[in-house]
């Protein structure tokens, strides 16, 4: 069984009704799959000056999940009220 998550393809083996194996489909990188350590890949950044949503050209906001009550105070709610 194949799952499609965009360009990532995942192969899933099912035995009876249970998933018994999950593997990433072949990575098409010109045949060269490189495994690199996270220290080479991750780029630590110094804390940037916090940005104000009003001055940024954005259409939505992603943050930790809030409850209905929390929505009113959320940046996403403010963005809507600002009519951006």
């Amino acid at each position: 069984m194949d799952y499609n998550f965009g360009i990532l393809s995942v192969k899933v083996q099912v035995t009876g009704t249970k998933i018994t194996n999950v593997s990433i489909g072949a990575i098409n990188d010109g045949g060269n799959f490189r495994s690199v350590s996270i220290d080479q890949q991750a780029i630590p950044l110094l804390e940037q000056e916090a940005m104000q949503a009003q001055s940024a050209n954005i259409q939505s906001i992603s943050g930790a999940s809030y409850t209905s009550a929390g929505f009113i105070q959320s940046l996403q709610s403010a963005l809507t009220q600002l009519g951006l």
């Binding site: 995942v10 009704t17 916090a50 906001i61 992603s62 009519g83």
Partner: protein, 259 residues
């Protein structure tokens, strides 16, 4: 803000569901049938409520609650329960076990993925139409297609966990932007290896094509921190960002930061 602002016409809807608020922003572009778009928003909203009715652990008679109590078996539950649990199994494997709905005391709890999965399905109702773009924002997990006009993609701000009234950065969305953290609701995330409520980072964001998987990976990433960043590097199309308690940020090399 820029004085010459391109204010495009949008349709907006706010729905209280799944214990939170889900917002819709539809950018019709040249598409003129607003009534049809409103109908699609209604269909999308129904999808969210249906998911809530099946998966809510707050509803004692939801199929998931009954499954957790052992009152029904998986094959007696609606088919979507299996679909979601299979997706959880895949996410568990891809996250090297850091996303593990079976490890949480109280029974299997796919909550860390259901919101994104449902939002993605809801978005598909809008995708039927030849519009410039649409966004479904489910409590900070954002599914989208297209952009604010015919030529650009949506820009999504990421909340600064240390100062939640401001942004830490902005990303260009490839379709899904999911963020996980405890600064809104307090401790609720479970470390499956330490077997306790704990997170290593202040917040984590995963972007990629599909919000269900991005949601699960963001949950895994905030719990596991740098170890999980290494797992996400391996997943084509998915990129991750962690924001540490001291404000420093680490990300996978192709994370689509625009500012």
């Amino acid at each position: 803000m820029d004085q010459v602002t391109n204010r495009v016409k949008t349709l907006y809807h706010e729905e209280h569901v799944m214990g939170t608020v889900v917002t819709f922003d539809v950018y019709p572009g040249e598409f003129s049938d607003e009534d049809l778009l409103r109908e699609s928003i209604e269909s999308a909203v129904t999808i969210l409520h249906d998911a809530d009715d099946v998966f809510s652990t707050w509803k004692s008679e939801s199929p998931l609650s009954r499954l957790r109590r052992g009152e029904i078996e998986l094959d007696q539950a609606p088919l979507v329960v299996r679909e979601v649990l299979d997706l959880c199994e895949v996410a568990r494997s891809l996250s090297n076990g850091w996303f593990d709905p079976w490890s949480i005391p109280g029974g299997v709890d796919p909550t860390g993925l259901v919101k994104g999965w449902a939002a993605q399905r809801a978005l598909e109702e809008l995708h039927r139409h030849a519009i410039d773009g649409a966004i479904v924002n489910a409590a900070g997990d954002v599914a989208s297609f297209g952009g604010p006009n015919g030529s650009s993609k949506f820009r999504v701000g990421i909340v600064n966990p240390a100062k939640p009234q401001t942004l830490a950065c902005i990303v260009q969305s490839p379709g899904a932007v999911a963020t996980s953290g405890e600064y809104e609701r307090g401790q609720h995330l479970y470390d499956p290896f330490a077997r306790t409520l704990a997170t290593r980072s202040a917040s984590a964001t995963v972007v990629g094509p599909k919000l269900g998987l991005a949601d699960a990976l963001a949950t895994a990433l905030v719990i596991g921190g740098r170890d999980v960043l290494g797992a996400i590097v391996e997943l084509q199309g998915y990129e991750g960002l962690i924001i540490e308690p001291d404000g420093s940020m680490r990300m996978t090399p192709a994370f689509p930061l625009v500012r």
